[in-house]
Amino acid sequence: MSIRAELKYKIMKDYGAPALMVLQDFKRRKPRPIPEAFGPPLESNKRLKEILSRHYFLSRYTPGVKKVAWVTSGAPVELLRAFDFYTIYPENHSALVGAKKQGADYCGIAEGSGFSQDLCSYARIDLGHMLSGKTPAGKLPKPDLLFCSNNICQTVLYWYKAIAHELNIPLIHFDAPFVTTEQTEADINYMAQQLQDMIPILERVSGRIFYLNIFEDILKRSMETSKTWGAILDAMKAQPAPMTIFDAFGHLAPIVSLRGLPVAQDYYHFLMDEIDTRVTQGIGAISDERYRLIWDNIAIWYKVRFLATFFAERKMNFVTATYTNAWAETTGYLDVKNPWTSMAKTYGQIILNNNLKHRLDLMKKMIKTYSVDGMVMHSTRSCKPYSVGQFDLRKTITADLDLPAVILDADIADERVWSEQQIHTRLEAFCETLEGSKHG
């Protein structure tokens, strides 16, 4: 660790990043006018943007100061935090590229190097970034370590292997057995053991020693943060809902990528306060909420604004989603007294590692408790584990709960997978069914 690098990092943290924020504020053009269909925007948006810009900005001053790890969204990152890794989430970065409608460009670079178009676009964008150095975040640091878990999909393992091979760096894989019915003792012990076996490797890569008390503090913070996130989502049961799920897609970023850090913990307290105030004052995310919807699967990042406006104009609000719920669903298992087995329970049972029956029951419960009138399922070309089974889920849910539903074929971040006309017709027909079912 060089003193010079460390000093530079500190200066950037204390002065550089705040200066950047001021500059960004200054550069920001006139705010886009908010269409009438929406309620007042959340104050927290600005804070969120600051936190994320700052995180990406500071990352370029890490060389010589902090070890950098690239981590998948479902990996037990708390363990890495105990070694003070600076974490970058390629999935989050790819979503950012997708939201800027640059996904096809990055995917093209990966495809040009021989990666298949059928590969998840998060992976293709990340590989495109690695191969070209391109990023909308200025510059990303090279990783010293890769950390992935197949609790979200098998793709991440092969994707991270490709990076490990290219950069010649260590890769740690947390293997989470799929929950076909229930988690077994053997599964839990197997995962708990893996976590403990990682310690010597993490000590070697980070050059730091593992302290259990530090780890416990991080775990506690992570639990508390997820709980707040869960409470924020819960507040969307209010009618009108204080935010839309499209807002939540954005406010999800800290719980995914900064989980376990004080900055995320503070942020969600801030957001919770604002949400609470809105609920008390009856302020809705859209000006006239007549229909309440559930979203299934990851966001269509390049069409968030389009979809938000389309539905708000029709007085429809998304009040819950399986996606945003994923970072609140299983963290209740975390237990500082049993760190290893409780982590195994938390990370082994997340929605994508759990069976369809579980998902069906969960969705039915969400539909009831959030007073949902209709369901939109995004069948995404990229994410097989999330999209397989949707037709069956839809069939059962529409039949059992008499709920109108529509499936949209699109992608999370590759904007080439979008057929405007077809989607429009589908959405309008869905709205026609919904309006017919509520008033007919």
């Binding site: 037709f391 839809r394 069939k395 529409t398 109108p404 539903a405 499936i407 074929d409 997978v417 057929s419 006309q421 077809q422 017709t425 589908r426 309008e428 027909a429 026609e432 069914t433 017919g436 079912s437 007919g440």
Partner: protein
């Protein structure tokens, strides 16, 4: 209540169709023309022809529903509804016991479930790819140097069909090319293509289920070979409208009529 007329204008990806009805629902005229490159011009032209045929003037039409992909480009319409709802209503008018509508048009195929009033309950649609639609058949007809009539001539459905396994238009085309290179008889290839569409429709049908009578709409209902295969696969007899391409326009006309009449009845209006 005399002299009230209603129209539906369906600007589809391939054909623009108009239907004019009177207040009792009687059909006065129906028109089908190619959409071509300009949807709003096609709508004007088809509407003009339908008015002539019914011996009516533009001012004589009380309300007009636009539907189909080009629905936004119909400047003279008084309302807009998706073709999915319109096909449901249209099929219900022609065959009141319809519970399921299968519409196979130029670029989309849809399976629609309707209730006993013709209101849509649920629907499913093909994805972005054109396989399983009329356009797919046209591409293949072109490759086989057949016209649409030849492509749809009824076949001995017990006959052999060449295997076309691909669910993608581009891949299917190359399969056809290699079958031709192997001197496979064209009838067998045609049969294989029809079967591949039927299989696609079948998977959509199973995803939402069959209720009541099944009515087939859209231009592909003209394809007799395909209809026979679809009936065989579903194990039932399909209702085939005399004019399958205008069912959406007919539904649109009825939606315009219903909206007008319920406005009259509603005391707030």
């Amino acid at each position: 209540m005399a002299d009230l007329y209603f129209a539906g204008v369906d600007v589809g990806s391939l054909s623009t169709d108009v239907s004019i009805i009177d207040h009792s629902g009687k059909v006065l005229s129906e028109i089908v023309i190619p959409t071509g490159v300009n949807g709003s011009e096609a709508a004007e032209e088809a509407f003009g022809s339908a008015l002539n045929l019914a011996d009516l003037t533009r001012e004589g039409i009380t309300a007009i529903t636009a539907t189909g992909y080009g629905r936004a480009s119909v400047a003279f319409a008084t309302g807009k509804t998706t073709e999915i709802s319109c096909h449901g209503v249209g099929a219900h008018q022609l065959f009141p016991r319809t519970g399921t509508v299968i519409d196979i048009g130029g670029q989309d195929s849809k399976v629609i479930q309707i209730d006993s009033h013709g209101r849509m309950l649920d629907f499913t649609m093909n994805d972005k790819c054109a396989a399983g639609t009329g356009r797919f058949l046209e591409v293949m007809a072109n490759r086989l140097e057949l016209d649409l009539d030849e492509l749809s001539s009824p076949l001995n459905i017990k006959g052999e069909s060449a295997p076309i396994s691909s669910t993608c238009t581009v891949f299917a085309e190359s399969e056809v090319i290699s079958l031709l290179a192997k001197n496979t008889p064209r009838e067998e290839i045609v049969h294989g293509l029809q079967r591949s569409i039927v299989n696609r429709i079948w998977s959509m049908v199973t995803s939402i289920g069959v209720e009541g009578e099944v009515t087939l709409t859209g231009g592909v209902a003209h394809n007799k070979g395909l209809v026979a295969l679809l009936e065989e696969k579903l194990g039932l007899t399909l209702n085939i409208p005399e004019n399958p391409q205008t069912v959406g326009a007919l539904g649109g006309a009825h939606i315009a009529r219903r909206a007008y009449q319920s406005n009259l009845e509603s005391p707030t209006n």
